[in-house]
Amino acid sequence: MEQNVFKKSGKYSLATFEYMGLVSFSFFKRSGIAVAKGSKMTFVPAYQAVLKSCRYFKDKVTGRELKKSYYEKFKFLEEKISFLENKVAFFEKHGIKLKSDLSTDKQKQKKEVSADKKQFLQAILNDNKFVMGLQAATA
């Protein structure tokens, strides 16, 4: 009889302890889920808003946004400019000059020489013309 009482009381104690454990686990789990859900609801929109603004700023700085939208247009223009530059270079190489060529003007500015020196240069030019004139005559 005494043995049964002890045995039963032991079983009840164990069951009580086990039940309390389950209840407290349930509390922890539910409260955890509630906290996580609440946090998610609170922080994710804020995080996304910050991320969006950062991305926007980054795209602005690196020009990615611009590149994305105008890449094709720029590529076309670059090809056109490169083609025109090659044409201009070809003309220059063959002695054809553009009046609006600023870089040529710069080179001309560099070559400003005094009137005295210009006379020397003119004399050398005349001498060369003379030699070349003979060249044409013999040819």
């Binding site: 002695g95 070559k111 020489v113 030019l125 060369n128 013309k129 003379f130």
Partner: protein, 350 residues
């Protein structure tokens, strides 16, 4: 856009010098060599060799020295020596192309406009100048010729009351500057220059050391390192092979005699140019005698000319240029840079 590169060129009998406004300047011995056969071609790994490399491999090469006495070989006798003349012209063109390639090898731009001014001896004939233009026309986009002593004067900005003595290998050019382009009366060219010194030096050594084996190349190199006129100084010896054994030979007197051999004509030329100048300005000319070219490096030459001027003309001050090797090319480069575009265009239309 095409990039313009201005080039000053001095195509010399012994050395060819190039000076560019992209900062590059260099010189190459005026030798062009073509491999003699397939074996030498394989050994050298090139179709054509230039400068010192030619001298190192001269036994495996058909060697050409395209310039003689400051102008293209057989320039004035092309009808009598057609084959040699054509070879010299081709070699000169290759040499000039090599020089311009050296000057532009670091240029990134694809389209380069090469403008050059080439120095020609003071009294070069029309044929000589025409040949130089022919050679350069195939290599450069625009080209002009100018008198060598004048390019030296222009580079140093001695355009008035100065007498330029440019001692090269083939010619010694004397030119007096008086604020205008020098005419024929203002210029004297003598052919007693570096090569003449080599010739005399060779003859002198042959007389003294008849059993020694040597050639002009050996003598020339030695002369360039040791040339002098002064009577004071150390004994100069050269190791010459005698029966295959290098033997030290004293050549002090021989070298002095050889170097002195060019002086009489130079000083005579100086005297003539000064004496025939306007008496009012002779004094200024005497004060401004400029010594340029490789020959100006002869130790004691400056003093020798000054001494002579003192005896014959009462006074004389000779100044050596700082960079004798580059003086001509630098002056030609300055001319090229200063030349207005419209002048270049005029030549094109011509």
């Amino acid at each position: 856009m095409a990039k313009i590169i201005n080039i000053g060129i001095d195509l010399g009998t012994s050395r060819s010098v190039i000076s560019c406004d992209n900062g590059i300047r260099t010189h190459v011995a005026s030798y062009v060599g073509y491999p003699k056969d397939a074996v030498s071609k394989k050994m050298l790994g090139k179709e054509v060799v230039f400068g010192e490399e030619c001298l190192k491999n001269r036994l495996a090469l058909n060697l050409f020295r395209p310039f003689n006495k400051g102008v293209l070989l057989h320039s004035d006798s092309s009808h009598d020596n057609q084959e040699e003349y054509a070879q010299a012209k081709h070699a000169a063109m290759s040499l000039l192309r090599h020089l311009t390639e050296l000057a532009t090898e670091e240029e990134e731009a694809d389209d380069l406009i090469l403008r050059g001014v080439i120095g020609a001896p003071a009294l070069a004939t029309i044929n000589n100048k025409k040949d130089l233009l022919d050679i350069a026309n195939d290599v450069l986009d625009d080209v002009m010729i100018a008198s060598e002593p004048f390019t030296v004067a222009y580079g140093l900005n001695f355009l008035s009351n100065a007498l330029i003595i440019d001692i090269g290998a083939g010619t010694t050019d004397l030119c007096r500057m008086h604020g205008t382009i020098p005419t024929e009366e203002d210029q004297i060219t003598t052919f007693k220059a570096g090569d003449h010194i080599d010739k005399i030096f060779l003859e002198q050594i042959e007389q003294k050391y008849s059993s020694a084996n040597f050639n002009v190349t050996m003598i020339k190199r030695f002369k360039e390192e040791n040339s002098f006129i002064s009577k004071q100084g150390e004994k100069i010896t050269i190791d010459l092979p005698v029966n295959g054994k290098p033997t030290p030979c004293d050549v002090t007197d021989e070298l002095r005699i050889a170097c002195q051999s060019i002086v009489p004509e130079i000083v005579e030329g100086v005297k003539d140019l000064i004496a025939s100048f306007d008496p009012e300005f002779q004094q200024y000319l005497k004060e401004n005698v400029i010594l340029a070219g490789g020959g100006s490096q002869i130790v004691g030459l400056k003093n020798e000319i000054e001494q002579y001027m003192k005896e014959a003309l009462g006074y004389g001050k000779v100044t050596k240029v700082e960079e004798p090797l580059y003086a001509g090319a630098n002056g030609a480069l300055m001319l090229c840079k200063d030349m207005p575009d419209e002048y270049w265009d005029e030549l094109k239309s011509k």
